[in-house]
Subunit: 422 residues, 2 copies
Amino acid sequence: MALIVHKYGGTSMGSTERIRNVAKRVAKWARAGHQMVVVPSAMSGETNRLLALAKELAPASLTEAYGRELDMLAATGEQASSALLAIALQAEGLESVSYAGWQVPIRTDSSYTKARIESIDDARVRSDLQAGRVVIVTGFQGIDDQGNITTLGRGGSDTSAVAVAAAMKADECLIYTDVDGVYTTDPRVVPEARRLHTVSFEEMLEMASMGSKVLQIRSVEFAGKYKVPLRVLSSFTPWDIDLNEEAKSGTLITFEEDENMEQAIVSGIAFNRDEAKISILGVPDKPGIAYQILGAVANANIEVDMIIQNISKDGKTDFSFTVNRNEYTKTMSLLNDTVLPALGATQVVGDTKICKVSIVGIGMRSHVGVASTMFRVLSEEGINIQMISTSEIKTSVVIDEKYMELAVRALHKAFDLDQVPA
Amino acid sequence: MALIVHKYGGTSMGSTERIRNVAKRVAKWARAGHQMVVVPSAMSGETNRLLALAKELAPASLTEAYGRELDMLAATGEQASSALLAIALQAEGLESVSYAGWQVPIRTDSSYTKARIESIDDARVRSDLQAGRVVIVTGFQGIDDQGNITTLGRGGSDTSAVAVAAAMKADECLIYTDVDGVYTTDPRVVPEARRLHTVSFEEMLEMASMGSKVLQIRSVEFAGKYKVPLRVLSSFTPWDIDLNEEAKSGTLITFEEDENMEQAIVSGIAFNRDEAKISILGVPDKPGIAYQILGAVANANIEVDMIIQNISKDGKTDFSFTVNRNEYTKTMSLLNDTVLPALGATQVVGDTKICKVSIVGIGMRSHVGVASTMFRVLSEEGINIQMISTSEIKTSVVIDEKYMELAVRALHKAFDLDQVPA
């Protein structure tokens, strides 16, 4: 008998028929003798519906001023879906009880709309499990030390599920979603993309942050920190498939490199065309310029992804970074109006028609020449590399966005990702 | 400066445009210097939408088995509308904060779907008021001593508002609704029906329980117990009408009989065609028969309204009562299958095509002949009276439902209810 956490996304909870299927699937696990905790998202569309109402009432700069009330509002979506799932489970003949985040309680800081979980008291949930109940815990939300409801931000239910699994020392946390696992790359771009049976925690982190949006990145960090075995699998399989088959499906995110792991050097290709690049040219090379530039950007609440600074020539250097395309205009104005004059730099240039392509793999740690293979493949395709950034298990390049599919397909093939590793 | 509680029903909260109007009205009161607590219902249709989802998942005998989860579900409606109203008030430039029942906290017993308020801690709300905030408190819900969410049953937001007003010792509790006050009878039946400027607490209790469904009856009991000045008024007046005019509109429910009160003998005519009558004939007249009959009915969770037992003849008596029409078949089966054999009674007869008409008035206490005037008027109209029941301030008759409008109109005229009292 194991303690298992299931997490179901909004699509899986999207109608009473689907909620009934979730209940039947959970009941199958419970009847096999497992202690079950289930973390559902709001019914699909519900969070958007609620936030659209708020927007009608207060259109301008909504999030900051009204954060507390937005969280009161949005948290109702998961409370309702959790209660409905408990009812569906009871209709299946299982004892079940649902708890809102504050009832567990799941304690968070007070950063409304993007709160972070600080602690989870598992006593109440554990006593229900021991009494033979299936426990439903609302995703996405918690309570701060003033008794206010907080939410964890979009996709926060993944984090809730992993955090609950960590607090309960669950044997496994299964994230049921609308994809059937983690792929070597997006199958819409590369039809030969292959599902990975296992992927390391570090690789998953790099994939998630690159736009392979299977899991909220914070949930992966959490799983890594607490070593929660995490599995991503499809909620679209029939609820009555064999439990052992279901338990082995999807992709398992692992935390130890053992002999059974797939030994590919590169595990996947991630890509992202939501970014824009910005370069400040002719920056006098002296201590503090990175802070002068990025401090101003951070103060304007603009998130920066890649940051590149090369060695200087004649006491001048060029400083480049990427931001989300939505923030491009705002960032350019900020730099031109205030940062450039203060820096004494020559010029700011930018480009929104770029994309970022990354190869990710634990194997890169111990294999030389992986990056150079990537550069050779792109060169053979006639693709010019605009920026390069590397980490231990990832190499990213910025290229013209029109070459994105070509680059991803060529790299996928070059690193044999369509082949099951020996 | 006064402490004022406003309560807004689901229709008043039915769209973002209406919520904005509520916010403007509340802002008018706050800017006039009053401390404001607002209790909103869920947006109209929302509670029904949520409960319909539950019904799809678990159709049979829903309320009892799934009470806890139904309350978790239904409570989200008011939490969402309260947060939206707080956002609308902030958009109007007022500081505002919303609290769910458990955050106040409003403590109740554990009778899911029909909980009763036990206590309200006003410290948190009071400190917000002192800080100059408008406080929104969700209607309809509270928390039991196990930390479970409870709801107060349909129309429970009226009770929440009155209870909050009582706990805070508010100067007045204003119930904004889709009627502009309490009438001498339903204006759809009698066009000459007149709005009462004041009505006594006891009269309001009798009117409310008789189907003049302006206020939930429990809220009137609560107001009476704690002497909360309660006003029913229209939410459809423009939000920017003069505050003093608005403060005097609608109907004030009073708790003291002073000289300024309208001195009518009869204040209103109530009626109800949702009932069915049932008579058990030839019951051996011995101690305990009322309990034998009504105990069985109560155990089956059937609510009884009028109960009539006349003196016995030849050791036998007839025992009659009324139940809601929806419960008629269930009650008849129960009586025929189990109660009748045990009683040794002759027969059970019933009729669903009846209605109850009542005259209500404080003045009946001190005026003789009011009931006989009622019987004369009905007799002159050729209406046969099937059952009679009286209390200090009410006389009710059961008649054939086809005569209901005729009876109500004739009584309204006979007691001069279309005339403003001298």
